[in-house]
Every structure is written in structure tokens, then in C-alpha cells.
Symmetry: C2
Subunit: 158 residues, 2 copies
Amino acid sequence: MSEGAVSEDRYFEDFVVGDIHRYGRFEVERGEVLDFARRYDAQPFHLDDAAAAKTHFGRLAASGWHTAAMSMAMIVDAGNLAGGGGSLGALGVDNLRWLKPVYPGDVLHATSEILEANPSRSTPGRGTVKLRTTVLNQDDEPVMRYEAITLWRTRPAG
Amino acid sequence: MSEGAVSEDRYFEDFVVGDIHRYGRFEVERGEVLDFARRYDAQPFHLDDAAAAKTHFGRLAASGWHTAAMSMAMIVDAGNLAGGGGSLGALGVDNLRWLKPVYPGDVLHATSEILEANPSRSTPGRGTVKLRTTVLNQDDEPVMRYEAITLWRTRPAG
């Protein structure tokens, strides 16, 4: 598990298109992989090494939704990509791809590139920021990639 | 939590484009919303009613990734959309949108429409199935939608 979230007050204006943020470290624990799979994704290759060995996973692999959740934990921990006073969550995600299996014992990190930053046309005081997030393992192999459309407050006056 | 997964052996050939599957029931529990948020998405509006009241969520709302995980739990429970002997996981997700907040006390259900079914050109014995999954609350309001590209074995000979 990832710990020690630092929350800064970031606002829409703080995002610069082209900036790349590097962050994270999340240790993938076997017990947590199994716990997530039992609750939310009880497919054999997420629960059992022998069953996984019969598939392209090769051995017990984390649920893809678990990897997404772990990426979010790293994002919140990074402190400047979500979770501060200006953060209003996300509208959605495009082009999510699970590129390689994530295994217990892996240590993940991540990068996020700011792709777009657009003030809201309909709601003054808000804007959307599109980020391409890549999750990598300890061998710097990309394991997951997605583009998130996040919603932010603009910086308060004064 | 959702329980009682039934696993049937479904294969690539069993998916018919245009078919719509209706399934689920997942009760969103406050403790589980908080537990997920503490581990993976520790933003104030996922942890605290007062903080959420200052945002468009209005009150404590589930992490969007938690809603995705709950959708997966319903899919696995449905027994014919993942998890059987022919299921090989998913390659990715397109056009994921969180349409409305999901609150503790909500009772979710889901539909999945088969959009495409394509035999693999590179790997004999496999195919991809694209499904549009919509998660709805107890008032039949869509709360989340996404298109998943899932990977399947073809039916074994004999």
C-alpha cells in the first residue's frame, strides 16, 4: 500500500500543457491482490497461480481495475495531480490499455503528461485538464496507460 | 458486496453482436466506500460528508475507480461475461465516463451490449469481444459507462 498523501492546493491555472509529472512507488502485495480480486474481480487468473499458469498471465496477476486503483493511490500521494482544494474529480477516461500483467512483488511508479487544459465554457470558475498517465513496473516497462479528463476549480480571487 | 459468482464456460463464439445482457445488483456500503477511498483514492469528497458537501458531489461519493470495480464484481457474478474457462481478461477500456455520483446506500445494476466480436488475426484460437457496459442506480439513472475490449478463447474442438 501507498501512504503519506500530501495535499497541496492546486488549481486549474497550475497545469501547463506539455509538463510531465513523475511520481509514485506502490508495492504490489500478494494479499492485497487477492483481497481486491475476491471482492471485485474473482476470475481464476486473479485468484490462483495454477489457474493463471494456464493463461498468458503465467502466474497470479492483479486485476486491471486494481492496477487502475493503485495508479490513483499514487496520483493522490503525489499531491499535485488530485486531492487538493481545487480538485473536483474526473469526468472520465479514454484509451485505457492494460499493456502487461502486474504481479505481486512488482513495484510500480507512474508518469502523467498534461495533454490539454481547457476552461469550462458552461461553468465559470472551472476547467478540465486532460492527462496521459502511464504506470510502469520496476523494470520501467509500461503496464497500463490511460487519458483522464479531470475537473478543477480556477484559483480563487485574492 | 456482491456474492455468489456463477462461472459458465463461455467462449468467443457465444457472443452475438447486438445482444444486451442485464445483470447485477450491488449494494454500495458506506464502510466499503470509505475503505476503498482510504486505500486508493483519498480525496476529501470520497472520505467526508462535509468536504463533499462543498463540491458538486453534495455528499460522500464513491471513488469512480470503486464504481468500476463494483461493475466488474457484477460482471463476474453474471457468469457469462467474464470468468469462465474461455475468458482471458481485457485489453482495455474506451470512452469511460462517470455520469453521476454513486452514494452509499445506492443499489447498482448493469447492462452490457455486445458491440463487436472479432477473431484474432495474429493468434488462432482467440478473439476479442467489445462490450458497452452501463452501470445504473436504483432509479435507473446511468452512473457510469464504458466500452471494454475483452479477450476470449475460441471453443475447443470436440
